[in-house]
């Protein structure tokens, strides 16, 4: 028995050596778009520290920025409603029992605003009621006035009123002070939609861009809701204005994209270049009086070299992107 045991053990050790000697197949993970019709029970969120007081929750739809400090919690976007429980658990893990004070929406889609109603109710504006009047004591929900207008136009039967941002701003920006940090909400006019914003955490040195910057796909242009290609490019140029790399075009201001991995100025730069080049190609075709059918036929030259990297969402293909640019640039002003 002892000999059998010895032999077995030594054989296992020999196998172990082979396994140990083999190289593990480690590869850089691909940036993938959101799954369509996901199995919500199987979707998981991941929390990453970005910089300073700001963290990122990924996997609940659009990325969620979480600022945690002594005075409470501030969120940028809320993810899908179906993921709200997991998002809330992730926030609690980050913040303990600190109160959720503020939620800022960057754009319209369900992936960013879906859990507004659930998470707002988890928050508190004040510790006590006096001064609130008729307003419920829940987290403040902020968005651009155009975002509220879009939701109103779409209607309460499709977007419940509880998801609408009651605190709106209509100018270029709205300034907040949260957790001893200036937080600037900047309007991004006529970008993915007409109601987009980005959020700049000035002390933590982090920008949450919303959907104009997407690590997995070409930027979505929601033409039906006021989106424009030049608004997206101008938004990306604005991000480049705000970001300052720490050393040799790396680090410094960190960027939370609408989807995908954390980036910095260089990541936004390459994305801006790509979107601008594709826009220029479509514009050049329009200048030659080419029709949409002809522009589609000249594919792959419009987006060709970027397609292996960004044409990963069957719901938003390179062809759809080119068509949206063409439609947008040829629309009557």
């Amino acid at each position: 028995m002892k000999r059998i045991f010895h032999t077995t053990a030594l054989a296992l050790v020999a196998v172990c050596s082979v396994v140990i000697g083999a190289q593990q197949q480690i590869r850089t993970p691909k940036q993938m778009p959101l799954p369509r019709n996901p199995d919500w029970a199987k979707m998981e969120v991941e929390t990453l520290h970005v910089q300073g007081q700001v963290h990122m929750i990924a996997g609940a739809g659009g990325n969620i920025a979480v600022q945690v400090g002594n005075t409470g919690v501030l969120l940028v976007d809320t993810g899908y409603e179906q993921m709200s429980g997991k998002v809330l658990a992730a926030i609690r893990k980050l913040s303990g029992d600190r109160t959720l004070r503020t939620i800022i929406n960057t754009t319209l889609s369900d992936a960013h605003t879906g859990a507004n109603a659930v998470l707002v109710k988890e928050g508190r504006l004040n510790q006590a009621g006096p001064g609130l009047g008729q307003r419920p004591n829940e987290a403040d929900l902020i968005g651009h006035s155009n975002l509220l207008a879009l939701m109103t136009d779409i209607g309460r039967d499709k977007i419940p009123v509880e998801r609408w941002p009651p605190s709106v701003f209509s100018g270029k920006q709205k300034d907040l002070y949260s957790n001893d940090e200036p937080v600037v909400v900047l309007a991004v006019p006529d970008a993915v939609t007409s109601g987009d914003s980005m959020v700049w955490f000035r002390k933590s040195d982090v920008v949450a861009t919303g959907e104009i910057f997407n690590q997995a796909t070409f930027p979505y242009i929601d033409l039906a809701h006021g989106g424009t290609i030049n608004g997206i490019i101008e938004g990306l140029n604005t991000v480049l204005d705000m970001t300052v790399p720490k050393h040799n075009q790396e680090g410094g201001t960190m960027v939370i994209p609408g989807y995908g991995r954390i980036g910095d100025e260089h990541d936004v730069l390459e994305y801006r270049d790509m979107v601008t080049i594709v826009r220029d190609r479509v514009q050049a075709a329009i200048n030659k009086k080419m029709t949409l059918a002809q522009v589609k036929a000249m594919k792959p030259s419009a987006t060709y070299e970027y397609e292996l990297r960004f044409n990963r969402d069957p719901a938003w293909t390179a062809e759809m992107f080119v068509e949206a640019i063409y439609t947008n640039l040829t629309a009557r002003k």
Partner: protein, 397 residues
Amino acid sequence: MRLMTLPPEFITILIRCPELAGRAGVLVVCINCKSTARNELRHRFFGRDNGAAGSDLGRAYHQMFSAGRTALVLPFLLAVLLIPSVPAFAQIDFTGVWNGNTNAEDGPERAAGPSLVEFLGLPINDQARQWGLAYRPGRLSLPEHQCQVHAIHYIHRGPFAARIWEERDPVTHQLIAIHEAISTYEQKRTIWMDGRPHPSANAPHTWMGFSTGVWNGNMLTVTTTHVKHAWHRRENLPSSDEVTVIEHWVRNGNVWTHISVTEDPIFLAEPLIKSEDLTLNASPNFNPFWPCESIEEGERARGQVPHYLPGTNPWVAEYAAIHKLPQEVTLGGPEQMYPEYRNRMKTLPVAVFEEKAPPSVGTSSTPTPPAAPAGGRGAAPPAAGRGGGAGRGGRGN
């Protein structure tokens, strides 16, 4: 870890200990130990005074030997089977200052750098080729591009010097990491040798990426992920942010042979394999200072990105014609890495270059900037110029 001679009842296995923050170590499995043997082993490891109580390894040891033999050994061995990769102890010391050999096979990459549309010998795919043909050097004159550096799969071909040192556990002397400070662009990297996992898909990417290493005999094999979008050939052939770089470090005396295998699912049709030799410098002098501050190089419309529209790059044939090469040869591709391609080269006509003025940079969406005075950095390019409105934008390294 102390060196010791173990009784034959013990089997030593290299494992990664989660209890020790993922560090590698030697665990000892006792096949048929008597209590006296166990005690002897414990005393050899931890001394007779502290026993196993005072350290994580000690607690792990106690847990290991407090269980029954069969309940312990088989599950443990099965667990080891599931350990995918295990860093072991350093075989070769790379510590020191190393200098690149700029006169070797990689000389053309190091000094003046490649010409425009000089893609030959690179296993690029058609997407990379199109990217390169649309590339206009003025793009590198944009302030945000000016301080862009060589990424990890290219930097060993810069005018390169590196200082390498080891980081070891102060108690066990186990190798935790190998650090490499690279003179070019003041880059620093850490090669983790403690078996830690690579970051998630949502983590940031950097020029140097995230590296882990293992020893294959005397060769160090390094795997790097999470690298930024950069270039396979300086400036005009892109590399994606999904590259994975496998390096093999070999030392023969005072020569460090650095071999890299770059996989890029976006821009390479086959892995790109390169090698460089570096020489150990007896002097510890090392110039790591490479400050970069971007400046505005001429006026341009906000958001303008210099590039050539498809089919409008006027320089495609220049390099090929100067060197009397067929055009196809300069456009790269995986077939060019193999000797058989020489036969095909002989059947192709030599390229002809007809110089013509490059198209303007702007489009109707991005108006052409006003021309600066003749010869100025922001001037529209002369007929013979290659730049995108702001000089050639090339790098001398």
